[in-house]
Symmetry: C2
């Protein structure tokens, strides 16, 4: 699928309710994904759904995550299993004059594909480095390299995005026309952001080790989604 393209509408990815909020262009879908550290992955074992929150990242039309080779999720997914990987950023609480119009602002993506373990030995270390660098640009060069035992204990999972959709609400209070004048309830949009606190260095840090320049954006009060989008662009480039 070329850059600039959209995900074709299918029965699976079509946003039925509030279809005005649906987004299918890759640029929007990928921006929402690349601003996040954590996704939720839905999968099925013995007919029962499971829903595991985990860190992930994107490269092109592929999504990656990892887990212990001993974990139930990894064991279920490694031979190929349909999954739905979802990211949601909560952006505001929206208090309206009726219960019906109470809402939240959000940016969300649902992406479907078939998860499988990345078994190519040559690919795995490079992808694991990307996983670190996607969050902390340049960090994979500063840390100890993985041992054979660590690589064996970690399973890297990936999927091609077969289809996906985004959904966004980013408007203010929206009430029924007659309620604005008739309902004296205080109504407001309350922004919600995920922010960083002051980094707490490891108490066992060596005295000569200073914070690398690449970590400058990780400062108190910075928005996690913005820091992650910048880190993503710094590591993989934009677009």
């Amino acid at each position: 699928m070329p850059e600039g393209a959209s995900f074709p509408l299918t029965k699976v990815n079509k946003v039925k309710r509030r279809h005005d909020r649906g987004r299918y262009d890759k640029a929007t879908v990928y921006n929402i994904l690349d601003a996040a550290v954590i996704c939720h992955i839905a999968y099925v074992i013995d007919g029962r759904p499971y829903n595991t929150p985990t860190a992930f990242w994107r490269e092109g039309d592929h999504l990656y995550w990892h887990g212990s080779s001993a974990s139930q999720m990894i064991k279920a997914q490694r031979e190929g299993l349909p999954v739905c990987l979802t990211v949601a950023h909560l952006d505001a609480l929206v208090m309206a004059r009726s219960g019906f119009h109470h809402s939240v602002n959000y940016r969300a993506v649902m992406a479907w594909g078939t998860a499988h373990a990345i078994t190519a030995n040559a690919e795995k270390p490079r992808l694991m480095d990307n996983f670190i660098d996607r969050i902390y640009p340049g960090r994979s060069k500063l840390i100890r390299q993985p041992t054979a035992q660590e690589l064996k204990a970690t399973t890297l999972m990936g999927m091609e995005i077969e289809t996906a959709s985004g959904k966004i609400r980013n408007t203010h209070v929206s009430d029924d026309e007659e309620d604005y004048a008739n309902v004296p309830a205080w109504s407001a949009m309350i922004p919600v952001t995920q922010v960083l606190g002051t980094p707490a260095p490891c108490p066992r840090s060596l005295p000569e080790v200073a914070m690398p320049a690449e970590m400058a954006p990780f400062k108190e009060g910075a928005r996690l989604d913005e820091v992650m989008s910048q880190a993503y662009a710094a590591t993989f480039g934009r677009g």
Copy 2:
């Protein structure tokens, strides 16, 4: 299940990997749930997993959410469908001296049950009020009551928690012993919190309408998880 009890360990809810992080006592599981506005619900349609982020709340051993009666999720779930409802609070990024020990701090819950529509006409308005009040204590008394059409257009979903587990990581950097001295990589725990911004009143607010006293905790910089836990306790009591 009496208060103070735990969810029995089963094949489904047992935390296999990092089982030291597993939590099965109801108090811990419910505190994690009650600090959240948004969950992710996994369910299966035609063998394919879906994963929908949505607002939810808990009453006793039941979880509730809602949706448009026309939505695909609601149509699939209303007659009874197994779901896994997950909540995850991201609490910190943890940068270690090896990729293997990079981690995040989090509080997460996975809860399994069978979703069904709440069709009892008497229960529905009360539960919808609770949905509002759980976030904004006392608000259901201040707003316009739902119309018959609104109630019809909204399907209220519920499930009894059949089993659940919590998982928590809340520690600092933890590296292999030899790496502390030998790897000169700056390592740190960076706190992450979800905070409120300054409430933006609806531009069409009536001049005489002031912010209710119950909204005082919703102030700039307040932690959403703390505000939600307090709101929950104010509406439903503690424990």
